[in-house]
Each structure stands twice: as structure tokens, then as C-alpha cells.
């Protein structure tokens, strides 16, 4: 368990590290170039890892719906935007506001899908986040 806590903590740190590195590349090229290299280098690393474990093309892949294939193209905009933002908002506020947007849209999706969750906690969470975002804009 303590080992897994460390793993989860490091995984979170890697999110910030990746954004910082991509942001640096964007300073000397462009946000889209940083997104391109992020995806290409990540693909190479994952291709090696996949080859070593699951094989390149698992059986279920062909049956996956179109929705399962659009994450990558969306990720291009996600990484490019993060690279652009980090030089402007800093790592803390870029990460914090992205988490805010993720949670607000996540709750909307949960509600739309009728997913089981404690409603009052979700709504209180949304209010806290909205207040936080407002606090970051206020002079």
C-alpha cells in the first residue's frame, strides 16, 4: 500500500513535469510542435512497452467504437493548450484551473449519464470550484 501511494504520487508529479517540459519546448518552437513531439516520443516509448507485454494489436481493438479513437486527436489540442498556458499562468494555476474545468465537466457528464454518486457532495464541490475560479480572476 505505501508503495502504491508513492506510485500514484509520482504519476501525478509526472503530469506536471511533462507539462513543464512541453512548455519549455513551446517557448523555443511552438505549442503545436511541442504537442507533436510529446505524442511522437510518447508513442515510441509506449510501442516498446506494448511490444514487451500485450503485443501490438490486441484482439478487442478492431471492435472498439469510434468514440474510443478520438482521445488522441483531442489530446493534441490538450497538450498544445497546456504548453501555451504554462508560460502565461505558471504551473500551479495552469494545473489548478485545468483540474477545475475537468471536474466541472466531469460532474456534468456524471449527471448526464445518471452515474451513481452522492449529489450533495458533487454540488458542494462544484460550488467550491466555481468560487475558487472566481477568486483567481478577482483583482
Amino acid at each position: 500500500m505505501p508503495y502504491m501511494i508513492l506510485i500514484a504520487f509520482v504519476a501525478g508529479m509526472l503530469v506536471t513535469l511533462s507539462r513543464q517540459i512541453n512548455g519549455r519546448l513551446a517557448l523555443e518552437s511552438s505549442a503545436m510542435q511541442s504537442s507533436f513531439w510529446n505524442h511522437l516520443v510518447g508513442f515510441c516509448v509506449l510501442a516498446v512497452a506494448a511490444q514487451l507485454s500485450i503485443g501490438f494489436w490486441p484482439p478487442g481493438a478492431s471492435a472498439a467504437p469510434w468514440l474510443a479513437w478520438i482521445g488522441g486527436p483531442l489530446g493534441v489540442a490538450f497538450v498544445a493548450s497546456g504548453s501555451w498556458l504554462i508560460a502565461r499562468l505558471g504551473a500551479t494555476m495552469t494545473g489548478g484551473l485545468m483540474v477545475a474545468g475537468q471536474m466541472l465537466s466531469g460532474v456534468a457528464l456524471d449527471l448526464a449519464q445518471g452515474r451513481d454518486a452522492v449529489l450533495w457532495m458533487q454540488l458542494l464541490g462544484v460550488l467550491l470550484i466555481l468560487w475558487g475560479v472566481w477568486a483567481s480572476i478577482r483583482q
Binding site: 500514484a8 505558471g90 457532495m121
Partner: protein, 164 residues
């Protein structure tokens, strides 16, 4: 001595940038929806592999489209260090570690909450010291208040799902 740019009182979070960051977070919700659909059909590793593969192709096309419109000579002249091209390694490792932790007794809820902590701790350290060539910017009081409220709300929402 002039004040450091990072400590200038006139520095403010522009509304456009805040809206862009929120929208980018919304994009992440859609990405997770898509990537977890692929993971359910295959595995988290393959899901991330295809996302990076299709992303590389789309980003390459976008670069070609941009290049055709951009005039020669407007590109930055400085060259980025080699390590700046390795952000993708970190991203690839994230997937492997996260899927390992989410399958442990931490479950997805615990993995998300602890991951959030790791993300914030390193971001604060980066901003305070100005790491990897990105400008140092000490978080202000209102940034920390905003961050605290966002994190508290996020933990409530993650917990609300875990108890659902």
C-alpha cells in the same frame, strides 16, 4: 533595483487564459471518456498507445497546415535543448503508473486524489524556483486561495463518486 517580473503587483490572470485553462480541462474529460472506452476494449497501455499514435498524425497534419500559412523567418531562432523533446516520456510513464495504482487497493478514487497531490506539490515547487527554463512566479495569496478551493471541491467530487 526593479522588481522581478514574477513579483510584479500588476501581474494578473487574464480572463482569456483562465477560460482557456478551464476549457482544456473540459477536453480532458472527453479524452478520458474516449481513452477509457478503448481501455475497456483492450488495455490501458494499448489505449494510450493508440491515443499517442493518432495524436502524432493529427499534430503532424496541423503543423503542415500551419507551416503553409506562416512566412519564412518568423520562427524562433533559439534551439531548444534535447531534453525538452522528452515530455512524452513522462506522459507515457504516467499512463503505466496510473493504471498500476488504480488496479491496486487504492482504486481509482485514491489514485486520483493522491495523483492530484503529487501534481500540485511539484507545480508549486516549479513555480517557486522557476524550473526547466520556465519563468519563476511566486504564487500570490489569491492564487493559493483559489487553488485551495478548487482542490477541496475536487476531493469532494472524487469522494462523491467513490461513495456512489
Amino acid at each position: 533595483m526593479p522588481p522581478l517580473p514574477s513579483q510584479s503587483p500588476s501581474r494578473r490572470n487574464a480572463p482569456l487564459e483562465i477560460v482557456a485553462a478551464l476549457a482544456t480541462g473540459g477536453l480532458l474529460t472527453l479524452m478520458l471518456l474516449s481513452n477509457s472506452a478503448m481501455a475497456a476494449h483492450t488495455s490501458p497501455l494499448f489505449s494510450s498507445l493508440t491515443a499517442h499514435g493518432t495524436g502524432s498524425v493529427v499534430a503532424a497534419l496541423a503543423l503542415l497546415a500551419i507551416r503553409q500559412r506562416r512566412l519564412a523567418g518568423t520562427r524562433p531562432t533559439r534551439r531548444a535543448p534535447l531534453w525538452a523533446y522528452l515530455g512524452g516520456v513522462s506522459g507515457a510513464l504516467t499512463v503505466m503508473l496510473t493504471s498500476q495504482a488504480a488496479n491496486s487497493s487504492l482504486a481509482l478514487t485514491g489514485t486520483l486524489a493522491i495523483g492530484l497531490a503529487g501534481q500540485v506539490v511539484l507545480a508549486l515547487a516549479f513555480d517557486c524556483f522557476g524550473a526547466l527554463g520556465i519563468q519563476k512566479r511566486l504564487p500570490r495569496r489569491k492564487d493559493l486561495i483559489a487553488l485551495g478551493a478548487i482542490l477541496a471541491g475536487t476531493l469532494l467530487i472524487i469522494r462523491a463518486r467513490g461513495m456512489g
